[in-house]
Amino acid sequence: MFGNVFPAWTTKVRDLLPIALGGGGLYVATIVTFGFSAETINVGFQPDQPVAYSHKLHAGELGIDCRYCHNTVDRGAKAAIPPTQTCMNCHDKIWTDRATLEPVRQSMETGEPIHWNRVHDLPDYAFFNHSAHVTRGVGCVECHGRVDQMDVVRQVEPLSMGWCLDCHRNPEPRLRPPSEVTNMTWKPEDEKAPGTTWTPEDQKALGAALREARDINPPVTACSACHR
């Protein structure tokens, strides 16, 4: 009876339908899981900036400390993009006629801020505090990567909640002496006594000692630590 209603080719469709549905579902799941993940969407985000400022040159080759420009990083929630004045501290003496610096000079002259494009952009419902991390000995490099090797800054970590919690649950491997937070090349081995060998036990002990010294108990289950 149904044969009269449905043409013969629909039989084939009926046979293929489970495969199509199953495959389609799997396809969507895969796309959503990997395509929409923080790693895919956020890592590698590298917007163009209005000024061709190079961290590689300033922080890397010239060795200017991060805190020369981002000087509120250990005092406030925001590391803060430096005011134009900070650029001009040097650049009213050197490279005063470079075309690349024209927007900076113009900003200083007119008082109009430079419109920088934000690279590391947390959602507005997440309240991150830089000072709480750098004063405890979490290095800049842990979240921002080797900025000293970037001409144009790019996001290297997903900055997702799971990624934050990885460290909050187990902070020891990411801690360093607070004096070394801006050091891009610091390794735990640097802390060993001369003439000794660095063992995984030393690594653990260092982490534990650093945690103990600064009384570091990162909130793990306290939602309100970051969301309020």
Binding site: T40, T72, A80, P83, Q85, P113, N129, A132, T221, S224
Partner: protein, 1023 residues
């Protein structure tokens, strides 16, 4: 104590115990099921699916990453400025010529929160609702943005072109034909500028007008002393306070100090605890705080005062010249009946026994004779120099405001004025009924109005100029006690605007010094001292000298009381004042501390008067439907909804000014260009003659009903609402009389409720480290609402509008439950602020299907907005009814470019919630985190008292204390162990972090009356 508890009730419907009321209590969100769902009105299922389909399709089309953001650093950053970190600046506000010292919290250059300035001796760090709501007014999109000429937008250049030429002409004639109409200013610099401007305009005349003035007080001082002096009360040293027609804690410019001082004097202690009596017509805070409150028509209050005097003479030989014998007082009168006699006798006894330790005070509605008599009595009782002192009165020389208005209109009518400059104020709206200001204004050729808003008066003026807000300009003001407050600008004017000083400079000419230099000159401070004065917000020199004025011989005092006609009393509204705050949605939606009414004004009548007029108490499903009453005074009528107010004096109708505005803005009412907005409430100024506060009138019920948005029956935590637990649920607000109170009996109030051994249904967690807790002293709380608005400002809490309030959707995280106890004609009142109790065993958390509300390590009950899917199970399961749900997107209007400025007022530390999300008090977790991070960065423990929640910071009597309960030395721990401490609904094993201190009343032993008992909540045996 619980063997004979008072029956507490919140509304007449509850007292009545109607079945409709019981039904209402059983519903979590009353009226929800049987109503439309707001803005989805008219949206069919089919249309909804279409919309949803479209948004799903669009979701794929947008970029994978969210909207890119820009960062705009300053070109050069000022010293001490850390982006994203709050700075605090002292500033000074003014209201009716009285300074209010405030501290502004500024984020990245934007003021976002007002706190009291601890250096201002009146504020002491606390604020009232008006100061808290000032942020909303500051960013009000309806504030005037451009000068108007004949109602058409123009610019300052156009005005200056006209004005410069015009002033030149006026100077030629020494200002002949020029007049100023200003609202009173408390700024010494403004006075200085006024004097300077009038130097070259010698013939110009200056008038000051304020609709709700304290002129009776000034006149009273003139009667008593021959000159006006200002009375300063020191309630901290008082043991007995008698308030005649409430004012001390309600409308007095020093009410913040009064509240703080009196809370200190009210520590329950048999030797020193203060006692308060209030005799008044309208239920005010003074009445709420009183141990004995006698409701009485305002016109009868003087008779009661004479009765007290008569008892002082008769029983204690403290006769005052000009007094009247008890036998000669009016007979068969409400002020001299048996009950009144008993109270008056007790008051006289208390006053005589506490010579030098009492305070008598009269409200601004009472006549000059009453004020004068009070001065004599305070002297007679030895209070002067101890609890009552005097200073100079800066307004001593000016005529009364009523007279000034009459004089101005007379001058205009006589053709003596061709240029009228109006500074702030809104006389076209609030001028007395018997003075036709509007007609007079129309006769003046050149009119200029400098004001924050283009209001009713601006609409009738030739020119309107936007005035700079106090946050935008240098300013100073005088606090009630003479402290010279200094205010610095914290932000450049949002739109072009002129300050009073800048405007006056256009008349003075020559090289005017900069505003700050001028204030420094007036304050007589220089250099470092000036910098300190700006930093502290207070200049070192007081502006008022202490005085010890000599009393004149008292004149005869033979009051006869109000006549037979219905008494109509007028007062400034508790929320919008004289109308100036009508466009503040925070204040309009604030439930009045007594009526719990939002978005309206009413005719308040006593239950007995209602009965007489045949008006029924609205209950149940029609509880919002108020009857209408037509009130007539001298031939002028207004029709208002009726509010039957327990404790209102019989045959006295209380009306509040400030409503029925037609040029306030999109909140308060607008009939000008653009979208029309109906006025909020009814304007009662047309009923009121110059200088009158109490009038004789008539009333007539009018057919029809009017919906009122009251919150008193929302969010009930009612014993009867909880099925089957009536026997084991004690009263929520616990209280006791001083006589019964035993300070040594610890946990006495905690054990007021019998319950079986508490056992948990699930594993109990224990918390280490900080344990944040809040303590609220119910003995000190007067229900003033400052905490409610402070919380709203701090936590970006939206307003929802009248319709939504009627649906029970108001969003305040903190509410104040107002309870009455006893007889509905003369009840006692108690206020209980209720916020999230941060239960350690939180029932809301157990029912959330998505773990959007969970506990933090330090025991806070966190709410994660982004996880919330809006099931509302948590609100349903919360026994305290403190969770609020965003039924609609209440921030939607900010998307309009005209309104975008209002976004600047948000606290950037707190998420702005959207539709479909549950929210509630967080204990100001953003403040906790800030201090915690600061302390940890510095490697030190968090100091007790360094974290202050917004509610605790604002509280005038300092009833709210926040801190770490885990630290046994913290203030909150000590209060937690106070013999008065108890937790609400502790019998449900919730382990709330909030504790309350029970209210202790201190009735006069001679007046102890048997309280009516409530059988359902009393328990046999007691403790």
């Amino acid at each position: 104590m619980q063997s004979n508890p008072k029956k507490h009730w919140r509304s007449l419907a509850e007292l009545d115990g109607s079945p409709e009321f019981k039904d209402l209590v059983a519903k979590e969100f009353p009226g929800l099921a049987d109503q439309d769902i707001g803005e989805m009105d008219g949206v069919t299922r089919r249309r909804f699916l279409q919309v949803m389909g479209a948004s799903m399709a669009l979701a794929g089309a947008t970029s994978c990453r969210w909207e890119a953001e820009e960062i705009l650093p300053l070109t050069s950053r000022p010293e001490n400025r850390v982006p994203g970190k709050a700075l605090h600046y002292a500033s000074a506000l003014q209201r009716s010529g009285h300074g209010v010292g405030v501290t502004l919290t500024s984020y990245d250059g934007r003021p976002i929160k007002v706190e009291g300035n601890p250096n201002d001796p009146i504020s002491g760090g606390s604020t009232d609702v008006f100061a808290q709501a000032e942020i909303l007014s500051f960013y009000d999109p309806d504030r005037s943005r451009t000068p108007l000429q004949g109602g058409v937008a123009t610019d300052f250049a156009a005005f200056d072109a006209f004005w410069d030429a015009h002033i030149k002409g006026l100077k030629g004639t020494k200002g002949a034909g020029m007049a100023f109409l200003a609202e009173p200013s408390g700024s010494p610099t403004d006075s200085f500028l006024q004097t300077q401007a009038l130097k070259s305009l010698k013939s110009a005349r200056w008038f000051e007008y304020e609709p709700v003035s304290r002129d009776n007080e000034l006149e009273g001082a003139r009667l008593a002393f021959g000159d006006a002096y200002r009375t300063q009360y020191n309630l901290a040293a008082a043991k007995v306070v008698v308030s005649f027609d409430g004012d001390l804690f309600t409308s007095h410019p020093a009410q913040l100090k009064h509240n703080r001082d009196w809370a200190a004097a009210r520590q329950p202690n048999a030797e020193s605890m203060g006692r308060m009596y209030t005799v008044e017509s309208r239920f005010t805070t003074d009445g709420g705080m009183a141990d004995h409150r006698v409701p009485m028509r305002s016109g009868d209050v003087p008779v009661f005062l004479a009765l007290v005097e008569a008892f002082l003479a008769e029983d204690h030989s403290l006769a005052l010249d000009g007094g009247v014998d008890r036998a000669d007082l009016p007979k068969a009168h409400a002020a001299t009946d048996a009950a009144a006699q008993k109270v008056a006798k007790a008051i006289a006894k208390d006053l005589a026994n506490n010579s030098g330790r009492s305070v008598l005070a009269a409200g601004p509605n009472q006549s000059a004779e009453v004020h004068a008599r009070i001065h004599h009595l305070n002297a007679k009782l030895g209070n002067v120099g101890r609890t009552v002192t005097y200073t100079e009165e800066p307004a001593a020389k000016r005529p009364t405001h009523a007279q000034a208005m009459r004089d101005l209109v007379a001058a205009i009518s006589a053709g003596e004025v061709n240029t009228l400059v109006i500074i702030e104020g809104n006389a076209a709206y609030d001028a007395p009924a018997d003075v036709d200001f509007k007609a007079a204004l129309a006769k003046v050729e050149h009119t200029v109005h400098l004001s924050l808003y283009a209001n009713e008066t601006s609409a009738l003026c030739g020119w309107h100029l936007p005035r700079a807000h106090a946050f935008e300009a240098w300013g100073d003001a005088m606090a009630w006690d003479g402290t010279h407050l200094i205010g610095q600008p914290t932000i450049a004017p949002l739109w072009g605007a002129r300050s009073f000083g800048e405007f006056m400079a256009t008349m003075i000419g020559g090289n005017m010094p900069a505003a700050d230099k001028m204030i420094a000159k007036v304050a007589r401070v220089t250099g470092k001292d000036w910098r300190k004065a700006v930093h502290d917000g207070v200049a070192p020199k007081s502006l008022l000298k202490a005085k010890t004025p000599a009393l004149k011989a008292p004149s005869s005092f033979r009051p006869v009381g109000a006549g037979d006609a219905m008494e109509i009393t007028f007062s400034a509204d508790t929320k919008v004042l004289d109308g100036r705050f009508a466009n503040s949605a925070w204040l309009q939606e604030l439930p009045d501390f007594m009526t719990k009414l939002t978005w309206d004004n009413v005719a308040m009548i006593a239950p007995a008067t209602a009965k007489k007029l045949g008006i029924e108490i609205p209950v149940g499903s029609t509880a919002n439907e108020a009857s209408l009453l037509s009130v007539t005074v001298d031939g002028k009528s207004a029709t208002l909804p009726v509010y039957i107010m327990p404790g209102q004096a019989k045959d006295s109708i209380a009306l509040a000014f400030g409503y029925g505005r037609t040029r306030a803005g999109v909140i308060g009412g607008w009939d000008g260009e653009g979208d029309q907005v109906d006025p909020v409430g009814v304007d009662v100024y047309p009923l009121r003659k110059a200088g009158v506060f109490v009038a004789a009138g008539s009333v007539k019920p009018t057919p029809g009903k009017y919906p009122l948005a009251m919150t008193q029956e929302h969010h009930l935590m009612d014993p009867i609402g909880m099925a089957g637990v009536a026997e084991r649920t004690g009263v929520l607000l616990r209280e006791e009389n001083l006589e019964e109170f035993d300070p040594k009996a610890n946990d006495h109030f905690r054990h007021a409720v019998h319950h079986p051994k508490l056992e948990s249904l699930w594993e109990e967690k224990s918390y280490e480290g900080n344990a944040w807790g809040l303590s609220i002293d119910l003995g000190a709380c007067n229900g003033c609402n400052a905490c409610v608005v402070a919380c709203q400002a701090e936590n970006n809490i939206p307003t929802v509008g009248k319709t939504q309030v009627i649906h029970g959707r108001e969003m305040h995280w903190m509410r104040i439950d107002r309870y009455f106890a006893g007889d509905m004609d003369a009840p006692e009142m108690g206020a209980q602020p209720v916020n999230c109790q941060q239960c350690e065993m939180a029932p809301c958390e157990q029912v959330c299907p998505v773990a959007a509300t969970t506990h933090s390590d330090d025991g806070l009950n966190d709410m994660v907005y982004n996880r919330c899917v809006g099931t509302r199970y948590c609100a349903n399961n919360c026994p305290f009814k403190v969770r609020r749900f965003n039924y609609l997107n209440f921030h939607k209007e900010f998307k309009d470019p005209h309104n975008e400025v209002a976004k600047l007022g948000f606290n950037p530390e707190v998420t702005v919630r959207s539709r479909g999300v549950m929210e509630k008090c967080t204990y100001c977790v953003q403040r906790i985190n800030e201090k915690k991070i600061e302390a940890k960065n510095a490697g030190r423990p968090i100091a007790d008292g360094s974290i202050v929640t917004a509610c605790a910071q604002a509280c005038p009597p300092q009833a709210i204390v926040f801190g770490d309960k885990a630290d046994p030395t913290s203030a909150v721990s000590k209060l937690h162990n106070n013999p008065r401490a108890y937790e609400m609904l502790a019998e449900l094993n919730l382990k709330p972090r909030n504790s309350f201190l029970a209210k202790i009343r201190n009735p006069h032993p001679d007046l102890a009356m048997a309280a009516p008992t409530d059988e359902t909540t009393s328990h046999e045996g007691g403790h």
